[in-house]
């Protein structure tokens, strides 16, 4: 049986981008591609949890970062994982210049829109990688 693609958000708590990355990943794992996509706790992985490390080493991974600091990618690669695809919320902002997501705790309307757009892109990538595995 195929293993789910691991989609790992940065979940940065200081900026709206981190909240959007998290929200989009949950949309993919719980609504758009349940069973094909799953996520893990980034902190657990970096703190050396054996189960988290095993899952990352055995799975295809997608990193979803909020900003250019790229904490998800850096932390996953630093923990021995290989990234098959990478998304950054800030890059999506450039493609959607009219959106100005500002809220962090609860996404505002523009944050929700951006999360939905990002989730569709991630879901498409999950389909592509699923087909290859």
């Amino acid at each position: 049986m195929k293993k789910p693609i691991l989609v790992i958000p940065c979940s940065g708590i200081g900026k709206s981008f981190g909240s959007i990355s998290r929200d989009a990943v949950f949309r993919v794992c719980d609504e758009l591609r349940p069973g094909k996509a799953d996520t893990i706790c980034l902190s657990l992985l970096v703190m050396g949890d054996e189960e988290a490390r095993r899952r990352v080493s055995e799975s295809t991974c997608i990193a979803v970062d909020g900003c250019t600091l790229e904490c998800s990618r850096n932390n996953v690669e630093g923990s021995g994982g290989e990234i098959a695809a990478h998304f950054r919320v800030m890059d999506l902002l450039r493609e959607n210049r009219g959106l100005k997501p500002r809220e962090v705790t609860f996404l505002d309307e523009d944050g929700e829109k951006l999360s939905a757009i990002l989730a569709e892109k991630i879901a498409a990538k999950v389909d592509e990688l699923w087909g290859e595995s």
Partner: protein, 135 residues
Amino acid sequence: MKIKPKIGVVSCSGECCGLGTLSRVATRLVLEELRPDETVTICLPLFLAGEAEEHSFAKDYPTVSVDGCGKRCAYKAITKYSKEPAAGVDVEALLVEWGVEAPGDRRTLDGDGLKAARRLAELLAGKVDDIQGAS
């Protein structure tokens, strides 16, 4: 005049379940509404990636860790790379104590989840007050 230190509040990222989302929302409520002048956020993923400012702040100032579950990633990470937090909360254990169910949805907190987040935020604000009062 005694200068009270700012307190760093660190939530786990907790993508696995609603407990992580609850921790995160409660932490943000402390930062934004309850104690905006007294607290700063430490971004745990950034901290774990080795960001110097986050490490340095957690070494020099008191912190409160907010962990969704007993694995206590935030508490352990701050202790390992900076210094032991002045206070820490295991939200899963706290909910059991309160007789409150853990949130089922990890993306959005429902009415009960939001109530739990506000109650947790009040508890965290109290811990911030205790730390500032003791310093």
